[in-house]
């Protein structure tokens, strides 16, 4: 049963159209990888889901039509976004970043710092002074604090040191194992995606070009559309 459904989704930045027809399904508890080359519409798709861009076509989440909702309402329905480039609240401390975002549910300060113990060590440090990896953990933690039912990770491991990347991937794997959350991951490393994702959706030039189980994604298809 599909939890998030996109059908023929279109979106544009002003006069230039970026999405021409995205189809995507995520079932409850499923991890889906959204893949494609740079500039093919991955982040734009995320923006359309999170209502940061006006979109055409249909987007339904848990049976509700998202297309007419403002961004904050989509978040309140249970869509947690870890945006590209982390985008923490720079002038708030780690603690403040997290409690400011908190909505009732299982995810609280204890749960998030269990996932990322390093955040507890940096409790009173301003987000702007954290390292890139710590900011990324904070961005993931902040999205979790909203107790989402769908977590979207947009390039969560980009530009990080290998050890930190491993830590982030490990956290995603633990989220998959321990929670019923649906997860949409955008990333460039096929190897890790293959380990964690159940399904894959490949986009090219603003269209969905391939959908299927991760195990069925052959090297030829991925080379053609993702480049690896």
């Amino acid at each position: 049963m599909s939890f998030l459904t996109l059908r023929g989704v279109t979106a544009s930045y002003g006069a230039s159209q970026a999405l021409f027809g995205i189809d995507l399904d995520i079932a409850e508890g499923e991890v889906v990888a959204l893949m494609g080359r740079n500039g093919m519409g991955k982040t734009t798709t995320v923006k359309a889901i999170c209502r940061m861009l006006p979109a055409g076509g249909t987007i339904t989440f848990d049976g509700k039509d998202l297309t007419r909702l403002p961004s904050h309402a989509a978040a309140r329905l249970g869509i947690g976004l870890v945006p590209e480039g982390r985008r923490c609240f720079r002038d708030l401390t780690v603690w403040e970043n997290l409690i400011a975002a908190h909505r009732p549910g299982a995810w609280d300060w204890q749960a998030v710092t269990r996932l990322f113990p390093r955040l507890a060590e940096r409790r009173d440090q301003r987000a702007a002074t954290l390292s890139g990896g710590e900011q990324q953990m904070l961005a993931v933690g902040r999205a979790l604090m909203t107790n989402p039912r769908l977590l979207i990770l947009d390039e969560a491991t980009e530009g990080l040191a290998p050890l930190i990347r491993a830590e982030i991937w490990d956290a995603i794997a633990r989220l998959k194992a321990d929670t019923a959350m649906s997860i949409l991951v955008i990333d460039k490393s096929l190897k890790e995606l293959r380990q964690v994702a159940d399904c894959a959706v490949l986009v090219a030039r603003g269209r969905t070009v391939w959908t299927g189980a991760m195990a069925d994604l052959d090297a030829e298809t991925s080379a053609a559309h993702v480049g690896v």
């Binding site: 940061m52 403002p70 309140r76 609240f89 002038d91 975002a101 909203t146």
Partner: protein
């Protein structure tokens, strides 16, 4: 305690010390000055909530100050004349009881702030400043033409309103009321600043769209801040009218809005006790420089210029160092 905490404590203890000294030295006028400063501080704490936390540059806070003033004036006017405020559909008598007056001021101003905020918050930047200013002028001219309550001449209230258990005519006791209210509101504001709502508002001021991804509607948060802000300033207005035992349209004037903003900027925008420092300095200058020259505002202007150019964090910023970035 942080450095800012120490500065805040010194400021508040200073208020008490000045009032206590004046009381024992038999200088009631100094107590009145301290009371005036505490009330101005309270009005500016209200504005600072919208300006510092929400980034809302309101040049119309005289509306709320005036509403507070007229809430006191109208209720006390009817009480001293033994006439009901209204008879139909039910009779409402006037009152000389301060807490009821305060509550009336707060509720009325909150409703006005809700309406003004709903309309003004559709705009931002210079348009927001202009639209709040326009609301201020509307209230000002309405008060001038409201002949039932004195019109341009305002309303005189012969005896200061009462507070159960206290004699408000004794300067130190009235100062005590104003100062305790100021401290209570400062405590409330400091709690709000550290609450999830306050933190989000702070984040929304800097990056409005980013808070939406965690489910906050920045417009609604700003509206709530504007309403709280207006209610605080109205409480100060009610006290100010009681201090002078007089209320006039001047309380609604744009100069009043400007002065409230000057208190905030002098003391430090977005600093908890910035308005306290600013209002205290303003009242002191008004008193001392006012003795020297009728044109003392020239010196105030110069000081404001220097602070804006060289002390971006105002007095509190200068004493306590830079806090969080506030652009």
């Amino acid at each position: 305690m942080s450095r800012e905490g120490i500065v805040n404590a010194v400021l508040l203890v200073g208020f008490v010390a000045v009032a206590a000294w004046a009381h024992f030295a038999g200088e009631p006028f100094t107590i009145t000055l301290a009371t005036r400063a505490a009330i101005f501080a309270l009005a500016a704490v209200g504005l600072n909530f919208a300006l510092g936390l929400g980034g809302l540059v309101s040049l119309g806070h005289a509306v709320f100050f005036g509403i507070g003033g007229y809430a006191m004036g109208i209720l006390a006017f009817h009480a001293q004349n033994y006439t009901p405020l209204m008879e139909w559909p039910f009779a409402i008598p006037g009152t000389k009881v301060m807490p009821i007056i305060w509550l009336t001021a707060i509720v009325t101003a909150a409703l006005a702030a809700l309406v003004i905020g709903l309309l003004s918050l559709r705009t931002s930047g210079v348009y927001f400043i202009m639209i709040t200013l326009a609301f201020g002028q509307m209230f000002f001219y309405f008060a001038i033409s409201w002949s039932a309550y004195g019109g341009e001449d305002g309303l005189s209230i012969y005896i200061r309103n009462g507070f159960p258990g206290l004699n408000t005519l004794v300067p130190i006791q009235f100062f005590g009321i104003c100062f305790v209210l100021l401290c209570a509101v400062l405590w409330f504001v400091s709690r709000m600043e550290r609450s999830p709502f306050g933190l989000m508002l702070n984040a929304a001021r800097q990056v409005p769209h980013r808070v939406e991804t965690v489910g906050l509607d920045p417009q609604r948060a700003k509206l709530v801040a504007f309403v709280i802000s207006g209610a605080i300033t109205a409480l100060a207005g009610a006290l100010f009218a009681d201090l002078n035992r007089f209320v006039s349209p001047t309380m609604f004037s744009w100069q009043t809005s400007g002065e409230i903003m000057i208190f905030v900027i002098l003391g430090g925008v977005a600093r908890l006790c910035g308005p306290v420092a600013g209002a205290a300095l303003f009242v002191a200058l008004e008193h001392w420089l006012g003795d020297l020259s009728d044109y003392w505002h020239i010196y105030l202007g110069l000081l404001l210029l220097l602070i804006v150019l060289f002390l971006r964090g105002g007095i509190v910023g200068f004493l306590a160092g830079r806090a969080r970035a506030h652009d």
